[in-house]
Amino acid sequence: MITGGECCRRWRYWNFVPLTLGSWYSLAVPTLSPVRQKTAVRHRVIVRVTHWLTVVAFLALVVSGLEIVISHPRFYWGEVGNVNMKPAFTLPIPASRDTVPTGYNYQWPDQNGWSRYLHFEAAWVLVLTALVYGVWGLVSGHFRRNIIPVRGERNWSAVLSRMAKYLRRAPPDKREEKSYNVLQRVTYLVVIFMLFPAIILTGLAMSPSFVGAFPAIALIAGGKQTARTLHFFLTWSLIAFMIVHVAMIAISGFWRRMRAMTIGGGSAAEEDR
């Protein structure tokens, strides 16, 4: 206290009091921090993280799902289906089990053990990621701002005119540097709110335990085997989406888009400047 000058330069425990209070204050009042507004980041951190978690989970689900399918490459409609019944269709491939008549003299190695373990673990990653993204998207207004088509473009003519623009290979207009155009929004709406929920529900509709607890799931899906068949078709719809999605990114500048979705680069306009 007497040697006041030295006191100021040295750390004392009471220095932490205002420091901590200040931090709490800045937590409570985020307007104090000027950092967010400085650069227009195309994708928020939460979008980037949930995007890549979804990619990893989806790829694991596709690989393990195909491994599971080859143990019985026959598909049915309704509740039940087995080799004593006529299938709706059969994949023209060998099976990994010798009880399935495929017409081939070859049997794939049986990989169902790890495939099923991996499938459900990846499904948990997907579902939990979807929950985080879904709740954040609703609360933050992300869906309202970026996914639902803007007012005035919620009609077929807006969709068709944007499609025509793609076909003419016209450059995107200014607005699209900040967010998605109507075609992208419709696509993401379908993928986020229809295909992913449907593939999760049809997956759950195949679980004897889950269906026991929530029988409505089986009714909605139209039976266990219908759920399995739809699950298979939904997989291919999502794979088709993924191929188009990656192709569009390649066309519009692969590395710039990759940067925007990983370390979080700005919009195209800012980089060109």
């Binding site: 901590t20 800045s26 039940v80 080799v83 099923r116 373990y117 459900f120 335990s209 026991g212």
Partner: protein
């Protein structure tokens, strides 16, 4: 800028502390309420624990769907079975009158029952679906006595957590948790549709668990043991399934 990094530091610190405490509490609670499966270790342990834990929390007492008689399959599919042992063939030749089911372990009254003894117990019939992990399924009527009848008669001692059941082939064995064992649809099955349970479907005695995939419904059951832990059975993973790379819990 320094304000931001300090804020980050404190937020991260608080989040880490909360996360660590949360995980610790969660681990303790899940052990206490039996939410952790025996195959909880390894790369797939997390997913497996989430699946089994979710079932324990939300579907422990749920009933498997039962179907109208009109949905019974005309030609049910019998999956391949291991070639019968000599002991099995001898019993089959005498119409299984020598078939015995032993109940022992942590029970008040260990006992040995013949099929005739089992048939004096209250009969239960259910029309449920067999779902295979391969993807196929069929519906049949299954007739027998709930496992809970036998376990109640034997009297489970406190501390029983798993029921360990074995087939006539010594290398085929399974365990289930005690709630699954006492579930009203867990059936010591002796009949199918309108007759005795055929050998192809696990006759003369199969433990049917309609809430799990077919591979948990062991065929040719001869021995049931009440245990407090599965650590000392086989590799300690709960059944032959994880030893062969399959999940112990098969409700999904």
């Amino acid at each position: 800028m320094s304000l931001i990094s300090r804020r980050r530091l404190i937020t991260t610190g608080l989040a880490t502390a909360a996360g660590a405490t949360g995980l610790g509490v969660a681990a303790k609670l899940s052990r206490k309420y039996g939410l952790v499966p025996p195959d909880c270790k390894g790369v797939y342990g997390a997913g497996e624990t989430l699946t089994y834990g979710a079932e324990r929390l939300f579907a422990r007492h749920a009933m498997a769907r039962e179907f109208p008689r009109s949905m019974i399959c005309e030609k049910p599919f019998a999956n391949e079975i291991a070639p019968p042992t000599d002991a099995f063939k001898r019993m089959q030749a005498r119409n299984f009158v020598d078939w015995r089911l032993t109940i022992d372990g942590l029970v008040e009254h260990p006992m040995t029952l013949s099929l005739a003894d089992l048939k004096t117990m209250p009969v239960h019939s259910q029309i449920t679906e067999v779902s295979c992990e391969e993807g196929w399924s069929h519906i049949a009527e299954w007739i027998g006595t709930p496992l809970s009848n036998v376990l109640n008669e034997a009297g489970l001692k406190p501390g029983v957590r798993y029921i360990y059941y074995r087939a006539v082939e010594p290398y085929l064995w399974e365990t289930i948790d005690v709630d699954e064992a006492m579930h009203p649809q867990t059936l010591l099955t002796m009949g199918m549709n309108d007759g005795d349970l055929p050998v192809g479907f696990g006759g003369p005695l199969r433990l049917r668990l309609p809430r799990q995939l077919g591979y948990k419904s062991l065929k040719f059951v001869i021995h049931i043991t009440a245990v407090d832990s599965v650590k000392n059975i086989g590799k300690g993973l709960g059944s032959i399934d994880p030893e062969a790379g399959y999940s112990w819990y098969a409700g999904i």
